[in-house]
């Protein structure tokens, strides 16, 4: 079973709220001191999904990890390689900068065609920077493939892929033929932790780097000029709430006082 997993490098989403800040003029997040960017956590689970599907299929086949991003995004690819993926591809060129979900998906789709369409294309449910969750679906549409999103499991069954999709009021069991696009949610479970030996092997692996020209893309189609969504502002919301702490000698008394406050405010 061949798979391509798309991974994005993002500012660490576990950055404590107090250390998070944006440069409003530049409409950019300021990297918090001492906090390095990471592979999008859902993408790490997407790599895990690919590895498990291949294992269930007898272990044969190639898993490629693909990322569009600047030099540092190589680390996200290396994380996938250390987990057990075989090949790394990076789309890296200044012309890609300032793009949106559309230009990203366009470039990824071209790269996927160049690598060769695998049995399954796996994405995270959303990149935990802009929290959009659209790139997987756009790639599926561009390539004319079926897509199933926000999955907690994916298995091989009767020559198809059987998935469980997380929906608002439960789960849907869905079967899709291959090739297909899957997007993975956190309910999938923890990704494997690479061994030191695997990290060292991954560090030595070559990552293939492609520019727009390698993909047959005109610089005008991608990056800021090709983008269809325009950002006008980025800011941190102000939160004005002042907490009234309920003070008393014992927890029991605090509970009684809180109940009375809630009644007074007509909340219960």
């Amino acid at each position: 079973m061949d798979a391509i997993v798309c991974v994005k490098q993002i500012p660490d989403p576990e950055t404590p709220a107090a250390a998070f800040s944006v440069d409003e003029a530049a409409m950019r997040v300021v990297e918090a001191p001492g906090v390095s960017p990471v592979i999008n956590p859902f993408d790490q689970q997407a790599v895990e999904a690919a590895l498990r599907l291949r294992e269930a299929d007898g272990g044969a086949g190639t898993i490629s990890v693909l990322s569009l991003g600047p030099d540092s995004a190589r680390d996200a690819i290396k994380t996938g390689l250390a987990m057990g993926a075989d090949e790394g591809y990076q789309l890296n060129d200044p012309a890609f900068e300032g793009g949106d979900a559309w230009t990203t998906a366009l470039a990824l789709a071209k790269a996927i065609e160049k690598i060769g369409l695998p049995d399954v294309l796996i994405f995270g449910r959303q990149a935990a920077d802009l929290d959009q969750g659209t790139v997987g679906s756009i790639v599926a549409e561009l390539l004319g493939l079926p897509s199933v999103t926000v999955l907690r499991s994916a298995e091989l069954a009767d020559g198809e892929i059987r998935v469980s999709r997380v929906v608002a009021d439960g789960f849907e069991s869905i079967s899709t033929p291959t090739p297909a696009v899957l997007t993975i949610s956190n309910e999938f479970g923890d990704p494997r932790y690479p061994q030191l030996r695997q990290i060292m092997q991954a560090a030595r692996k070559q990552v293939t780097v492609w520019t727009p020209a390698d993909l047959g893309l005109d610089p005008g189609e991608i990056g800021a000029t090709g983008a269809r969504v325009k950002m006008h502002a980025l800011y941190q919301p102000r939160n004005e709430t002042e907490c009234e702490f309920i003070e008393a000698d014992t927890a029991e008394e605090k509970a009684g006082l809180l109940a009375a406050k809630l009644r007074e405010a007509k909340l219960v």
Binding site: D131, P146, S147, E187, V229, T241, F245, A255, V268
Partner: protein, 328 residues
């Protein structure tokens, strides 16, 4: 012709989903601000007549309906060509979806098929320079961005409960336009639906939500929360940490990747208040937190707070609330 097309949805038990009226309210305001020529609703499904009438009462001047047994359940393959045909017929400038299980899946594919793009999970919609300015949450709730879709039609998904429906008016009139578009052949096929049995109030509709986090220490504690919730007519929610530990079903997860709630009262018990959790409950009118850490982030959003071990607070709180509710 309509300037704004809303993709409505049916509620699981029949009738329109609440989001449909919210979208029609937002569409009506946007249409006025953009000087557009009307609001229409698109409905795709199997039995839509009652929902279509409800959509008219909620503000749709026209309702495009595509009814077919093969459309009874949402699936991207079946719905996409139908949705695209409706957009072609209605020729809107703006297409609105709810940020629902259907909307988040269908909107990006449809936007791409239409040669356009989508802005996801809008909190606010405004008209500016003839386009829709969308304010949305990003970076796990730590930031907001304002964006416009510069291609046409502008597709936007909208967060539940972020928009007010119009005041109900059964006197509204509108026409129902059946659309004959063949459902697409389903490659990905729904085999089975497992509905999480949420005893009591549905999380997204609850006026009060009582939520528990990893600090509860054990899954059994959720039984205590359920008793308190039952007394208050509340729903029970959970942080992702609690859900990931298997203590509570994912359908009850509150937050960025769970359900977004905005009740009158949100009670957070042993929840730290990470930005991704607050992304799902920060819109609550009143937050009350019980946490043993005085510096927990949750207190920055809370109207009332108790700093203590929840185990010592809960029994008395339950007894007092029970008494208050019984007295009422």
């Amino acid at each position: 012709m309509a300037s704004i097309l809303v993709f409505g949805e049916s509620a699981p038990g029949g009738g329109p989903a609440a989001i449909t009226a919210e979208l029609l309210g937002a569409a009506t305001r946007l249409n006025a601000a953009l000087g557009g020529d009307g609001v229409a609703c698109a409905l795709i499904g199997a039995e839509l007549d009652a929902v279509a009438q409800a959509a008219i009462a909620a503000g749709a001047g026209a309702v495009y309906t595509a009814q077919d047994a093969a459309l009874a359940q949402y699936g991207a393959d079946a719905y996409l060509p139908v949705a695209a045909a409706i957009v072609e017929q209605a020729a809107p400038a703006v297409v609105l979806f709810g940020q629902t299980s259907m909307g988040r899946d269908l909107a990006p594919r449809l936007a791409t098929r239409l040669g356009s793009a989508v802005a996801m999970d809008a909190l606010e919609l405004e008209a500016g320079d003839g386009r829709v300015r969308v304010t949305r949450s990003c970076y796990g709730g730590n930031a907001r961005q304002v964006v416009t879709v510069e291609s046409d039609p502008q597709v936007v998904t909208v967060r539940a409960k972020s928009q007010d429906p119009l005041p109900e008016d059964a006197g509204r009139t509108g026409e129902v336009v059946p659309v004959a578009a063949a459902p697409g052949a389903a490659r990905a096929r729904l085999l089975e639906k497992e509905t999480a049995d949420s005893a009591g109030v549905r999380l997204e509709d609850a006026g009060i939500v009582v939520s528990g986090g990893r600090g509860l220490g054990a899954p059994e504690a959720f039984a205590d929360l359920e008793r308190i919730a039952a007394d208050l007519g509340a729903a029970v929610g959970a942080s992702r940490a609690a859900c990931d530990l298997g203590w509570y079903p994912p359908s009850q997860q509150v937050g960025l990747t769970g359900t977004v709630v905005s009740p009158e009262l949100y009670v957070a018990i042993a929840i730290s208040g990470a930005s991704q959790h607050m992304a799902g409950c920060g819109g609550s009118k009143n937050i009350v937190a019980i946490n043993k850490d005085p510096d927990a982030n949750i207190f920055r959003y809370s109207r009332f707070g108790i700093v203590d071990d929840y185990k010592k607070v809960l029994p008395q709180l339950e007894a007092e609330l029970k008494r208050l509710v019984a007295d009422a």
